[in-house]
Amino acid sequence: MTDSSVTSTAKSARGPESPWRSSLRQLWRNRPAIIGFFVFLVVVAVCLCAPLYAHYVAHENPFTSNIQGTFRLHGRTIHVLQQNTQGTGLGVTPIGPTWDFSHYFLGADNQGRDVFARLLYGGRTSLLIGTSSALICCAVAAVLGVVAGYFGGPIDWVLSRIFDIIWAFPIYLLAISLSVVLLTTGIQFGPIHVGAGSLLVPILIIASIYVPYVARPLRGIVISLREREFIQSAIGSGASDTRILLKEILPNVAPSIIVFLPLMVAFNLLTESALSFLSIGVQPPAASWGTIINDGLGLLYTRPAVAIAPGIMIAITAISLNILGDGARDAFDPKAKLRGSV
């Protein structure tokens, strides 16, 4: 940079730059990470436009079946489900991609529903589950990890054993077991009641199974922080636990949480799609990218777009989040490590 001398003098006049500002500046300079961030924002923005697209452009309701439906394309009337001409001539096949943005852009599924509109709606659900479960997971894990690491003793022992058990559990089997049971009954926990078909069921399941994956590294960080001079001096000067936790510990674990967050969103998005694919995640009539891949299974050899398109969306979203997460790690906390990721 040509103006480095100018900025360095300006910096020294203002005193040293805060670590947050310098980390953010480093992240901003990491082009791939910023591109990943904007790709993610674009995916979110496009999916949020789902109702607008369905209502104003496609004029379709992608949640009701449209088996008898017809539409006009290039002056011809076309049936959404077409009589088979090959083989026995029995049965119907939904139309494939028209590549016409306002009419069944990616074709229809076997109930005659617009796949592109469903893809956008499904994206809203998948992103909602991915981000909210990651936020809940990181928040709960931060509280548990910090409490276990800071207070130690019996609290730490109990929490660590709980983490050990969940950690040792085959993670997909745990998610699947919980989903199978809770989808039929809903969640009843004291006064809290969540209905059986609610989106909160997969959100809470996915959030809770990954808590140890975030809480364990955070606990380790807090244990090593506790031995540092500035914490010891705060304890020595009689500061309350609350004050130490909020003013000294939290600012020092926050960078790790920031690093984990985008990686967890990607993780949870993939988990949600796998559960929905096994039809034990998001329940109909709601759609998510995983359920659309499941819808497309029966059409894989005739209308592959139905199953392939949502997977591409999942991959784009997860890749952008992983690149963003890598950049955030380099900028905020180069040593942060999640199990299963790098």
Binding site: A168, S273, P304, A307
Partner: protein, 322 residues
């Protein structure tokens, strides 16, 4: 060291016990879940429900039911399915296990070769164009849903290109190794590649990061000062040290895969392994089979964790003190 191993195995047994209790509680004690209603069917009268409860021992207190189930599962080994009455759980799992092990064995060979080669090539070419390309491929591999990749592979090999490039690709299913080794490998080829792609991505990224760290260490500087070639430093010095992390990861991943993480691949390719068995049992809420399969899976995960910890303690004496 002996004491450490004993303590580690005692801990592993306790974790297994805790997992079995947890699974039992999930399926038998969640409010609103009634296994008897599942067995008896939708239109069962209260009398029939009571009969079913009694016949399956569901009217006894929870701790007794837990002990009875463990007794049937581990000691008598005659636990049988609720859905297909008469099907024993333990032989079903033992029949399915070779399929899962075949799938994981082949995939592991592929992902180790590809992952280690990718990591070494990326680390050796830092600053050149090939390094970010490998990094991006690694991120792509971990970001693509494995089951979806399996579907895409099926579409191309069974439909789109089946009449041209992939005319040799066999249909889905499984041929035992003892019956025909060639067909065994051919039928498992695409499941192997699908499963391996995810892990190859992870391993290439882990190994590259470890190698880059190792190349900044003092012993590497010493080796450079001695005048060793960059190639020899990378392959003989840095790689050896970095492989410890890979070996640890490998132990945990194989444990997790044998324990059920291969479920999605098995479901997509229709391989009759433990994952598919578990999945079918879950769809029918066939509790004894689920209990058996989950505990079988947990056994491998816990065992892998213990073995990795002991191997670590063997390599690094500081760990033994914890």
């Amino acid at each position: 060291m002996g004491l450490f191993i004993v303590r580690r195995f005692v801990a592993a047994v306790l974790v297994m016990f805790a997992i079995s209790v947890l699974v039992f509680l999930i399926f038998f004690a969640t409010p609103g879940v009634d296994p008897a209603a599942r067995i008896a069917g939708r239109s069962a009268t209260p009398q029939i429900l009571a009969q079913v409860r009694h016949a399956f021992g569901l009217d006894r207190p929870l701790p007794i039911r837990y002990l009875l189930m463990m007794d049937h599962l581990f000691i008598k080994q005659d636990l049988s399915s609720y859905v297909n009455i008469g099907d024993r759980v333990v032989p079903q799992i033992l029949n399915a296990a070779p399929v899962t092990l075949s799938l994981i064995f082949g995939a592991a060979v592929i992902w180790l070769l590809v992952g280690i080669a990718g990591g070494v090539v990326a680390a050796a070419n830092r600053g050149k164009i090939i390094d970010p390309i490998i990094t991006f491929l690694g991120i792509g591999a971990i970001s693509v849903p494995a089951y979806w990749l399996g579907e895409v592979v099926l579409y191309f090999t069974q439909s789109k290109l089946h009449s041209s490039v992939f005319s040799w690709a066999p249909g889905s299913g499984y041929v035992p190794l003892t019956q025909n080794p060639g067909e065994w490998a051919l039928h498992l080829l695409f499941p192997w590649l699908t499963l391996a792609s995810l892990y190859a991505g992870i391993y290439a990224r882990v190994l590259r990061a470890e190698l880059v760290n190792a190349l900044n260490e003092d012993y590497v500087r010493t080796a450079r000062a001695k005048g060793l070639s960059e190639r020899r430093i990378l392959m003989r010095h840095a790689l050896r040290c970095s492989l410890i992390t890979v070996v640890t990861l490998f132990g945990l991943d194989v444990g997790a895969l044998v324990g059920g993480a291969a479920l999605l691949t098995e479901v997509v390719f229709g391989l009759p392994g433990v994952g598919l068995l578990t999945f079918n049992a879950l769809e029918n809420l066939d509790l004894p089979v689920i209990m058996g399969a989950v505990l079988y899976g947990a056994f491998f995960v816990v065992l892998a964790n213990a073995v990795v910890d002991i191997a670590y303690a063997f390599l690094d004496p500081r760990v033994r003190l914890v």
